[in-house]
Subunit: 131 residues, 6 copies
């Protein structure tokens, strides 16, 4: 028995990928990532919610905003990271986990977080972590 | 190894939410909930299906119809319930479970039911229960 | 030859509709309206845009926000108005036209505005006005 | 902790279904199936990916292409098979598993594959298999 | 200044197309067509609507139902017709026009009807006719 | 009375925009543009189509491919162009018009072409040109 609440935001970035496997995506290009952040819990709190959706939206906005309108190849935080869609899911999910642990979502008792990044209408990636 | 079949319907309701955490949603407002009901099974039956999709659609329609075009604050069945998106997922899923147990979907051998309610293009909730 | 830029937002409201034609929607119920506001122009300005998308988003947010999380039956501005999806398209479009005329979008030279309200995954309405 | 990468393609087929449960779908009719193939892994490889998305797309294209623009009732491979949406999910997933085992996706270390077929805007099925 | 109301339904059919231009679609295959029927008017009626959405939905359902779960190659009504997506848009729109003229939508004063058929996530066609 | 056929593709690019109006989008960033190219005609040809959808898809693919996986700031063809979403719609539409005039779509008698670029789930632009 599991509940989840998901909120959607997006970011628009430039980057390049290292490795022959990426073909033309080795060149500097870019992407819009539509981001779905799912917060999971085994039970609802006394208000009947998994998480305060307003707070969840704000925290996601802050994390996504810190990556937005940038060339990820130049971000100090991402030095040496191949910023694939999969990896970005993990990076955003990990930052959400930290925000939860820092009490940014109050005392929500989450069982996990899952982040999906849609890179186009025909491809997306996701990452899911237990808490 | 799991199969699932999902059908979509929707409901349009008025309600208000109790608790400061809900901010302006404490006022009487409303929502369209696009409802996805997923029926899960570990194996297909002799026809090669999880569930008769026609029956599943009818049962979902009936359950959704009983909540539609109403002010949920006035529904006797929901007295004292904070009708958050998460909670409504659970209520609809529980009614689907009852319908399955009552034989409304024939002898479908389901392993679980999951209900997702989309409240907008940027927020949705879900609830999943094993059977 | 026409250009258009569209931005999306949403509102969640309660209301009832007057007239037997509306059947169960005569009862107090509600809706999420996903709102698409399209700004049209015959030519782009010196920056290569129809309208400053940031300003357009802010103006739409303000207009939509003034209707959000409310029971439209109780809104003084809407007294005597049957708040059908079609009519709400017109109301939002008219307020956008006023905002443009008030210079809220700078000196954008628009040829028209179109507003679409999606009330569910299977029904939507729109209204289009020349400027 | 799980990663997934999903790619989308589609196929357009004719078929009929055997069994009274299918009602009018016992007649020869057809469907567009929008196919989502998800590749899952517990960790990313040295390039930061689950799978080479170009290869995954090609393999899915090949499997879907072998079923496309056909009457499934006449396909030798599907003799005696009730080609329900659920069953077609399994058939496509099984062919993807074979392709992975044949090294078609390089040395991707997958934990599972899930295939979803959308038969309309209101119904879809999925099948998930561990590897 | 134009209003429109759109309702969505779908049909699932088998067919083949005649002409080398169609390549593999010359073989018997099939499609799900998600159908959007838009009703246009220059003004709203006394209830504030373009058309009774319940009636519009019923009329569309009836027209779509008469084509559903069939092999269009065998339909007497469509003998000699190449049932391309474009042509099916026109056929459905023409039947809607007839229904309107027969008073099936009451005294709605429509200025036009537009029908869109989505054959997949990457291709659709439409047809628009003035009334 | 107008017919249209639309096909969808996408491109992923890096770019920056010049002008204070663009705020953070003045920095090098990027976008996925989901591209819808609509081909319009007043009548269908002898096969019952607006345009050979296979050819239309190929021509769009070629035009989109020439822009894909690039930093548009460095493209010789786009020197001095502010590559806003609106402007890119026009550039792609103009290239489609040239392809049609060069006979790339056979003798299709088109009345117009419209191109829409979706830059995210909440913003898109379009450009429409008569032929």
């Amino acid at each position: 028995m599991t509940f989840a609440v998901t909120v959607r935001d997006h970011l628009m970035i430039a980057h390049s990928l290292r490795g022959e496997v990426f073909g033309p995506a080795q060149r500097l290009h870019g992407a819009t990532f539509v981001v779905d952040a799912a917060f999971r819990a085994d039970a609802l709190d006394e208000h009947g919610i998994v998480v305060d959706i307003g707070r969840a939206t704000d925290v996601l906005r802050e994390i996504v905003g810190a990556l937005s309108y940038r060339n990820l190849d130049d971000e100090p935080d991402l030095r040496g990271v191949n910023t694939t869609t999969e990896r970005l899911c993990q990076i955003i999910a990990d930052r959400l986990v930290t925000a939860v642990r820092d009490g940014r979502l109050g005392d929500a008792r989450l069982s996990g977080i899952a982040v999906t990044l849609h890179e186009s209408h025909i491809a997306w990636a996701s990452y899911e972590v237990a808490m």
